[in-house]
C-alpha cells in the first residue's frame, strides 16, 4: 500500500535524523562530558577492531542461538501445557517466576561452577527467553476467539484439535511477539554468562577486557554488534508477525462471556494445590543441587538457607543485614515497577498514536536490551548521578521492553470494528484509546504487568550493584566477594519469593477485573 511505503520512508528518515542528532551530540561532547561517543567514532572503532570480532561474535551467536531455540521450544511446549491445564499453571507458577526473576548476577557464577563449556551460556540464554515466550504463548492461546473454538467443539473436535486448529494459530502473533522479546534476552543472557564463565571468546568477554580501558566507543561498538544480532532476529519476527496479524484479527467482536473456569472446588483441594505449588520450587531447588553434585559450601539447599537465616549462630547478623538491605530496596522497587510499566504503556500507545516515532525508537529500545548494563552504567552515572533517578532509569530499561511488546501486541489485535465505533462519532484518537483500545487489550496489559513485576526487582538490584551501593543488589555483590554463599542464596531466594508475591497480587487483581468485564484471564 502507498501509505505503508511512505511510512517506511518516514521511519528511515526519522532514523537518519536520530543518527545525525546523536552524531552532533557526540561530536560536541554535550552528553556526559563527551562520554557518549558519536556514531562515526563507533564505526571507525568497529573497523579498527574488525579482526577481533569474528571469534567473539561466533561464540556469542552460537550460545545465544542454541539457548534461544532450546528456551523457546520448552517455553512454547510449557505454554501449551499451562494454557490447557490451569492446575499445572498454578503448580508451576513458583518455578516459572523463579526462572525469570533469578538474578543473572547470582546464577551466572553458579552455572559456571556446575556446568561446563558452553552450557552455562546456553542455559542463561535459554532462561532469559523461557518466561517471556511461555507467557506470550499462554496469553495467545487463552485469548483465542471462543466462537471459533465452539465450531471445532460442535464438530466433535478434541481439545487437541481445538488447540491445533484455533488456539495455536491465533496465538501465533502473540508467540511471535514473545520471540521478539526473547531475541535480545538470549543475546544478553549469553553475554552475562560470559562474565561469570571466564572463557576467552564471546562479546561479553571482549566487553570485560575493554571495560577497563575508558574507551566508550569500543564499548558501544560491542553493544551495537550485540544489538544487531538481536535486532535482526527481532526484525525477522516483527515482519513475520506483521504478515500474520491482519488475518488473525477477528472480523467482528467476540462478545461471548467466558464460562467460569472450573475452580478446584473443595477448600481442601485448593489448599493442597497451594501447598504443592509452594513446595514444588523448593523441592526442585533441592533436587537440582543434589543432582549437580556441587560442593555444599557453594550450593545451598533450601534447608541450608533456612539454617543460615534462622538457626545458625550468625543468623541474627545475617537477618539484620538482609532486612536493612531490603528496607533500602523495596520502596524504590515499587516506584520502578510503576515507572517501567508506565513507560511501556506510553510507548505502546505511541505505536497507535504515532507509529513512526515509535518505530524510530525501536533501535534505541533494542540497544537498552542488549547492551550490558555494566558497560552502560558509567555513562548513565555521568548523566544522572547515582541517586534515585539513575535507579529508576535502569529499572525502566530492564522492565519496559517485554511489557511494551506485549502491550503493543494486545493493542494491535483489537478488531477494527470496535475501533470504528468511536471514530464514526467523531471521537479523537485519545477517545478511541480510552473507550476501546485500552479496555480491549486489558488482558495484555495485565500480562505486561506480570512480566514487569519480577523484572523491576532485578532492575533495582542491578542499579544498586553497579551504581548506588545500597540494598540487596549491593549485598549480593559483596557477599559474592566474601564467598558468603549462604547470603547469596538467601538474597536470591528472597528476591524470587518477593517476585512471586507481587506476581500473585497482580494475578488476583487481574482475575477480579477481567471477570467483572467478562473477559478471559490467561492466568
Amino acid at each position: 500500500m502507498a501509505g505503508e511505503g511512505a511510512g517506511r520512508h518516514a521511519g528511515l528518515r526519522n532514523a537518519v535524523i536520530l543518527l545525525l542528532v546523536w552524531e552532533l551530540v557526540g561530536q560536541l561532547g554535550i552528553v556526559a562530558g563527551g562520554a557518549l561517543p558519536p556514531p562515526s567514532d563507533i564505526l571507525i572503532r568497529l573497523w579498527q577492531d574488525r579482526a577481533d570480532y569474528p571469534r567473539h561474535i561466533g561464540a556469542t551467536l552460537w550460545a545465544s542461538a542454541l539457548g534461544f531455540v532450546i528456551g523457546n521450544v520448552v517455553a512454547i511446549a510449557g505454554g501449551i501445557l499451562f494454557a490447557m491445564s490451569p492446575l499445572m499453571l498454578r503448580l508451576f507458577r513458583g518455578i516459572n517466576i523463579a526462572a525469570f526473576a533469578l538474578p543473572p548476577i547470582a546464577i551466572a557464577p553458579i552455572l559456571a561452577l556446575t556446568l561446563s563449556g558452553m552450557a552455562p551460556r546456553i542455559t542463561l540464554a535459554a532462561l532469559g527467553v523461557y518466561f517471556v515466550t511461555m507467557t506470550a504463548t499462554v496469553i495467545g492461546i487463552s485469548q483465542a476467539d471462543s466462537r471459533a473454538q465452539d465450531v471445532i467443539r460442535a464438530y466433535g473436535g478434541t481439545r487437541w484439535k481445538v488447540l491445533r486448529l484455533v488456539q495455536l494459530r491465533s496465538a501465533v502473533p502473540s508467540i511471535l511477539a514473545g520471540l521478539r522479546v526473547a531475541a535480545p534476552n538470549a543475546v544478553l543472557g549469553a553475554i552475562l554468562a560470559e562474565f561469570g564463565g571466564g572463557g576467552r571468546w564471546g562479546l561479553g568477554t571482549y566487553l570485560l577486557g575493554s571495560l577497563g580501558r575508558a574507551e566508550p566507543d569500543r564499548l558501544w561498538g560491542i553493544g551495537l554488534v550485540a544489538t544487531v544480532i538481536a535486532g535482526l532476529s527481532y526484525a525477522g519476527f516483527a515482519v513475520l508477525s506483521h504478515r500474520m496479524l491482519g488475518a488473525t484479527k477477528a472480523v467482528t467482536l467476540n462478545t461471548a462471556v467466558p464460562a467460569g473456569q472450573p475452580r478446584p472446588g473443595h477448600v481442601a483441594e485448593r489448599i493442597a494445590v497451594a501447598l504443592v505449588a509452594i513446595t514444588l520450587p523448593f523441592t526442585i531447588w533441592w533436587a537440582l543441587i543434589r543432582l549437580s553434585g556441587a560442593p555444599a559450601m557453594i550450593a545451598k539447599t533450601p534447608v541450608d538457607v533456612f539454617t543460615y537465616l534462622f538457626l545458625s549462630p550468625a543468623s541474627s547478623t545475617a537477618q539484620a543485614k538482609l532486612l536493612a538491605a531490603l528496607g533500602q530496596t523495596l520502596p524504590i522497587t515499587f516506584a520502578g515497577m510503576a515507572a517501567g510499566l508506565g513507560f511501556a504503556f506510553l510507548l505502546a500507545i505511541g505505536t497507535k498514536l504515532s507509529p513512526r516515532a515509535t518505530q524510530a525508537f525501536m533501535p534505541i529500545a533494542l540497544v537498552t536490551q542488549t547492551m550490558p548494563l555494566v558497560a552502560l552504567t558509567p555513562l548513565l552515572v555521568l548523566i544522572l548521578g547515582r541517586g534515585t533517578s539513575l535507579t529508576l532509569w535502569i529499572t525502566i530499561s530492564v522492565t519496559f521492553f517485554p511489557a511494551f511488546v506485549t502491550l503493543a501486541q494486545g493493542i494491535s489485535l483489537v478488531p477494527r470494528s470496535a475501533e470504528e465505533l468511536p471514530r464514526v462519532y467523531g471521537g479523537s484518537r485519545w477517545q478511541e484509546l480510552r473507550l476501546v483500545t485500552i479496555p480491549a487489550s486489558l488482558p495484555y496489559l495485565f500480562a505486561a504487568t506480570r512480566l514487569t513485576v519480577p523484572r523491576a526487582l532485578l532492575g533495582v538490584m542491578i542499579a544498586e550493584w553497579l551504581a548506588t551501593g545500597r540494598g540487596i543488589g549491593n549485598l549480593l555483590n559483596q557477599s559474592r566477594g566474601y564467598l558468603d554463599y549462604g547470603m547469596i542464596w538467601s538474597v536470591a531466594a528472597v528476591s524470587v519469593i518477593l517476585s512471586v508475591v507481587f506476581f500473585q497480587i497482580v494475578v488476583v487483581v487481574e482475575r477480579r477485573v477481567l471477570a467483572r468485564l467478562g473477559m478471559t484471564t490467561s492466568e
Binding site: 556526559a32 562530558g33 563527551g34 562520554a35 577481533d52 571469534r55 567473539h56 548476577i105 551466572a108 557464577p109 559456571a112 561452577l113 556446575t114 562474565f195 561469570g196 564463565g197 571466564g198 572463557g199 576467552r200 571468546w201 568477554t205 571482549y206 566487553l207 570485560l208 577486557g209 575493554s210 571495560l211 577497563g212 580501558r213 575508558a214 574507551e215 566508550p216 569500543r218 564499548l219 556441587a294 560442593p295 559450601m297 557453594i298 550468625a314 555494566v374 558497560a375 552504567t377 558509567p378 552515572v381 555521568l382 548521578g385 547515582r386 550493584w465 551504581a467 548506588t468 551501593g469 549491593n474 555483590n477 559483596q478 559474592r480 566477594g481 566474601y482 564467598l483 558468603d484 554463599y485
Partner: protein
C-alpha cells in the same frame, strides 16, 4: 609423562599473568612434569569457588577474601605462595585533582568494588580517618567516571589504570594501600587441603616452574608481552602497550629477596595484622610455606 593440573587465574588475560603464559609457551610446566590447564578469570569469576567446586587445583586469589572464607565459612584453604608481595591495589586519581595520601580523600567521592569496601575502610581508619568522611560508591572497573570527574578517585590496580587514564588524555597519580598500612599480598596461590595432600609434588613443581617463568619475564619486562599478542592476549580488547606498562609496573611489587612467590614470616605477619584491622582474624597456619621451601 605429565600430570594434569588446572589453575584458575584471577582476571582476564593480561600482563598480570604473563609469567604463566611464558611458562606455558616455553614448556616450563611440561618440563616440570605438568600438563597445565589455565583458566582465565573475570569480574564475576570467584577463583576460590572454582577450587571448592573441584574445577581447578589452584587459584590466584585476593587474601582478604580467602582468609575471610577460611574463618567465616570454614573453607579448607591453604595459601602456598603469593605472586604479589605488595598488593598492587591503590587509590588512583587524576593529576589535576590529585589524591596523594589517605587524608586527601576526606570529602571526596571514591569508587570501590563492593568487595573491597572493608579494606578501604580499614586503611582509612589506620590513617585516622573516619570512613563516613569519604563518599564511597560502587566501582565496576570502568575508569570513565574518573576521567570525566564524576568521581575523584577509584580503587583499582595501580599497575594498570594509570596507563588507561593517560590514554584517555589525563595524567594519573596513585598510591598503594600497602604503603599506608594495608599491607597484604595479592594473587595469593591457594589450594584446598585435599589437593595439597594429594598433589603436593605437582604444586611444588608448579611453583618452581612459575618462579622460573616469572624471573625470565621480569628480567626485561618489555620482551614478552608482544610475543603473546596473537595468542594469550588475542581478542582481549587490550593493547600491547598497556601490557608493557603493566609488566613493568608490577615488577617491584613482585620481587622479593627470597624469590618470586615468597611467603616470609614478616610478610605473613604484616598481611595478617592488616586483615585483623578489618576484622578478618587469620592465623599463620593458613599459610603453608613448606612447598616453597622445597623448590
Amino acid at each position: 609423562a605429565t600430570s594434569p593440573l588446572t589453575m584458575q587465574a584471577a582476571w582476564i588475560n593480561d600482563a598480570e599473568f604473563a609469567g604463566y603464559f611464558l611458562g606455558l609457551d616455553r614448556g616450563y610446566f611440561t618440563d616440570a612434569g605438568l600438563d597445565l590447564e589455565y583458566l582465565s578469570g573475570g569480574p564475576d569469576v570467584i577463583p576460590e569457588s572454582t577450587i571448592i567446586a573441584g574445577r581447578a587445583d589452584l587459584a590466584l586469589t585476593t587474601p582478604d577474601t580467602t582468609i575471610k572464607a577460611i574463618t567465616e565459612q570454614g573453607a579448607p584453604f591453604k595459601i602456598i605462595g603469593a605472586q604479589y608481595q605488595k598488593n598492587p591495589i591503590g587509590i588512583v586519581s587524576l593529576a589535576k585533582n590529585p589524591i596523594n595520601e589517605p587524608k586527601d580523600l576526606i570529602g571526596k567521592t571514591l569508587a570501590v568494588p563492593p568487595v573491597n569496601v572493608i579494606s578501604v575502610e580499614a586503611m582509612l581508619k589506620m590513617n585516622g580517618i573516619d570512613p563516613s568522611q569519604v563518599n564511597i560508591v560502587p566501582y565496576a572497573y570502568d575508569p570513565t567516571p574518573l576521567v570525566k570527574g564524576e568521581i575523584d578517585a577509584s580503587l583499582d590496580f595501580t599497575t594498570n589504570v594509570p596507563f588507561t587514564i593517560k590514554q584517555a588524555g589525563e595524567d594519573a597519580t596513585s598510591f598503594l594501600l600497602y604503603d599506608f598500612g594495608y599491607t597484604i599480598y595479592n594473587d595469593t596461590v591457594v589450594v584446598t587441603e585435599q589437593v595439597l595432600a594429594e598433589k603436593r609434588d605437582l604444586l611444588v613443581a608448579w611453583l618452581a616452574a612459575s618462579r622460573k617463568a616469572w624471573a625470565e619475564n621480569l628480567a626485561d619486562p618489555s620482551v614478552w608481552p608482544p610475543k603473546f599478542a596473537e595468542t594469550h592476549f588475542a581478542g582481549t580488547g587490550r593493547s600491547i602497550e598497556n601490557e608493557l606498562y603493566f609488566n613493568a609496573a608490577q615488577k617491584p611489587l613482585m620481587e622479593s629477596a627470597e624469590g618470586y612467590f615468597a611467603l616470609t614470616g614478616d610478610g605473613i605477619e604484616k598481611c595478617l595484622s592488616a586483615l585483623g584491622e578489618v576484622g578478618i582474624v587469620g592465623s599463620a597456619d593458613m599459610f603453608d610455606t613448606s612447598l616453597l621451601a622445597e623448590i
